[in-house]
């Protein structure tokens, strides 16, 4: 597709356009406040940009470092490995500066003052984060290496949090005030996301196989599941409460096996209903895409219908089913937040409490781990899907 203008390159020193984008983002971020200094957790604060946020001249040091890193990113011929390194140093510097700013700005022993990350921090994080992911995606690492990158990233995040570097930042202060609740919410959130997924697989896989074997049922089953999917999540969660409340009261034995109209159960069921469609339809699609020749060959070898299904069709359909697992898991981790609104627990309870109290730090305490969970689940499952998909060049 070489067009005229490309054929005669103009002799301009080549600048990486992506690098330019990151530099613009980062440059803008340096103007914006790095942190918000607030007298307490509710009031609006005063924005401090990087040079002013750190004690002494350290702020200017960090500014120079950031500018240097962004400028290096402009070089067109910079190897991708170097680029990744720059991004990592940048991320470390940004996080370090936040931690130091929080430490420096919080008066000794003061439990009321809050130092919250502000727009400048998020944009720097974005700039270096993009630089890193861009380099990573263009490095075309092997699957093993990408698993390693995922684990190392998680390790680094854990290290940042465990080392106490960020202890004085508002989100961590908020966390320490409810560390127990946080771990309970984490478990609830995971139970909601994985529990509903497990149920969806338990019911959805056989259902998918059934509609594959009995085509007459397809329209009806998929139609009902489609309708379920159009009900807005908020309403579906809400409807589950009276429905399962009634069942728990009126169906003998239901309450004994855990059916309830309050707490985790209705939220779990709502997520389960949302998960059914992707599981059933992908099972069906997976089974249908099995090459008829393979199917015929298997019969020709003398396998029974049952053996063909379990030994040929299902294994071949597995990647498509796993793709559904990815969709469902990522979607459920996000939707589980809504459980917080109906008393179902999970990180959503922080988010909605935070919204009620206009406590932004509390919102972050709920939203950030949710995003992290969703990202990790997405990347990990992409890698798994790729691993079992027969030699398909997959771009993550």
């Amino acid at each position: 597709m070489a067009d005229t203008s490309l054929a005669t390159p103009v002799p301009v020193p080549r600048i990486s356009r992506n690098g330019l984008l990151f530099a613009l983002l980062g440059g803008l971020a340096l103007w914006l406040p790095l942190v918000q200094f607030k007298a307490n957790r509710i009031v609006a604060g005063e924005g401090l940009s990087l040079p002013g946020a750190l004690p002494g001249g350290a702020g200017w040091g960090f500014v120079c470092l950031v500018i240097l890193l962004l400028a290096a990113g402009l070089l067109y011929r910079l190897p991708l490995g170097w680029r990744l390194g720059l991004a990592l140093i940048g991320l470390a510097a940004v996080i370090l500066s936040l931690g130091l700013a929080a430490k420096g700005l919080t008066p000794e022993g003061n439990r009321v003052v809050r130092v919250a990350p502000a727009s400048g921090f998020w944009m720097l994080l974005l700039a270096f984060g993009l630089m890193g992911t861009d380099a990573l995606s263009r490095l075309h690492l092997s699957r093993k290496a990408r698993w390693a990158v995922l684990c190392i990233s998680l390790g680094l995040i854990w290290l940042c949090l465990a080392s106490g570097l960020l202890n004085e930042t508002s989100v961590m202060v908020e966390y320490r005030a409810r560390a127990d609740l946080f771990s309970r919410s984490l478990w609830q959130h995971l139970t909601l996301a994985f529990g509903s997924l497990a149920m969806a697989l338990l019911i959805g896989l056989p259902l998918g196989i059934m509609v594959f074997l009995i085509p007459k049922l397809r329209r009806g089953v998929l139609g009902v599941l489609n309708v379920l999917q159009t009900i807005p999540s908020l309403a579906l969660f809400g409807i589950m409460i009276p429905v399962f409340g009634w069942i728990a009261l009126n169906v003998p034995g239901a309450a004994q096996i855990g059916v309830a109209g309050i707490g985790l159960f209705p939220a779990l069921m709502a997520l389960f209903f949302y998960s059914l469609l992707p599981v059933v339809s992908n099972t069906l699609v997976g089974l249908r895409t099995v090459d008829p020749a393979v199917h015929d060959a298997a019969f020709g070898l003398g396998l029974t219908q049952r053996q063909v299904l379990f030994q040929v069709q299902l294994p071949l359909a597995l990647p498509v089913v796993l793709a559904a697992v990815r969709i469902v898991l990522v979607q459920n981790i996000g939707l589980a937040v809504i459980a917080g609104l109906i008393g179902g627990g999970g990180f959503g309870s922080f988010v909605f409490q935070g919204l009620n109290q206009t406590a932004m730090d509390l919102i972050l305490l709920g939203a950030l781990p949710t995003i992290l969970l969703a990202l990790v689940a997405g990347v990990a499952l992409d890698l798994m899907v790729e691993a079992i998909s027969p030699k398909k060049g997959n771009v993550t």
Partner: protein, 308 residues
């Protein structure tokens, strides 16, 4: 007239077209033949600057193509490709009207031109103007593709395997039609094909290319009787050569005075068809319309490439 001077194309270290020079007379058909990867398509695409030459010049008439803005150059040169490339979201009339519109013709003139071309390509304007391309058969689509390329009365028409997607019967008919229309309009035509048969049928001159090198450029008889290299010879296909030679001449040209039984053949019947008739009917001479006969002997001489 198109004059190509030392035209070459290099991508990085690989040379796709070694410097080529050739001239195509006004109103003639030049066929570029070669296997895939021979550089023939690249050579064609350098003429309308879809590919920018690495060196050399293209003259359209007495104008240097490099001095004309590429999109303006392309509007002056018709271009038809395999798979026709009709705009699927436009009607046939809109498709054909494209270039005249770009050139700012009056709507009235455009409309007249569309009807004229549809008629020329045996598509009834009343029925076909407002059809969408996907409502046509493959042969019809291909005809519209050529009609569109001719819409703005270009002096030059470039075609890249225009009949590649057609089945043999429709293909032969399309070739005949193209030749008629080209003669009628006097357009200079450059056609790329991998099919020597097509090149021999259509070309006034044939350029044989291999691995980016122009091996031979000359009239079909010369290519058939005096192949310059073993590659050209292989491309002709030794066994096919006599028949190809025969298909180049008409019986009117080799008729001798005499009498023969049976119905007389038209004078523009190809010698190849006449030979087939002789063999099929078991005769050694056939009558030619307007007097005279064509003998099996004369046909045999022709097939050897003598007396061309």
């Amino acid at each position: 007239m198109i004059r190509i001077e030392n035209l070459s194309k290099t991508y990085g270290d690989t040379t796709v077209v070694q410097p080529v020079s050739l001239t195509i007379e006004k109103g003639h058909i030049a066929a570029l033949v070669g296997t895939s990867g021979s550089g023939k398509t690249t050579l064609l695409r350098m003429i309308n600057r879809l590919v920018e030459p690495s060196s050399g010049k293209v003259w359209i008439g007495d104008e240097d193509a490099a001095t004309i803005a590429p999109h303006l150059l392309r509007r002056r040169i018709g271009y038809a490709i395999q798979g026709h490339g009709l705009f699927p979201h436009r009607t046939l009339a809109q498709n054909i009207a494209m270039v005249p519109q770009l050139l700012g013709w009056k709507p009235r003139d455009i409309s007249d031109r569309v009807d004229e071309l549809l008629t020329l390509f045996q598509l009834d304007p009343a029925r076909f103007r407002d059809r969408m391309p996907h409502q046509l058969s493959g042969g019809q689509q291909q005809r519209v593709g050529v009609a569109r390329a001719l819409a703005a009365r270009p002096e030059v028409l470039l075609m890249d395997e225009p009949f590649g997607a057609l089945d043999p019967v429709i293909r032969a008919k399309a070739q005949d039609d193209l030749r008629d229309i080209q003669r009628q309009l006097g357009t200079t035509l450059v056609i790329v094909t991998h099919d020597m048969e097509e090149a021999v049928t259509l070309g006034d001159r044939i350029a044989v290319m291999d691995k980016g090198v122009l091996l031979q450029y000359g009239p079909p008889t010369e290519i058939l009787t005096h192949p310059a290299t073993p590659f050209v010879e292989a491309l002709i296909g030794k066994a096919e050569r006599p028949f190809r030679l025969l298909s180049l001449s008409h019986i009117g040209d080799i008729a001798v005075p005499g009498e023969a039984e049976g119905p007389a053949l038209p004078r523009d019947t190809s010698a190849r068809d006449a030979l087939a008739q002789c063999l099929w009917l078991g005769r050694d001479r056939l009558a030619v319309q307007g007097g005279g006969v064509v003998t099996l002997e004369a046909l045999r001489t022709r097939a050897k490439g003598d007396g061309a």
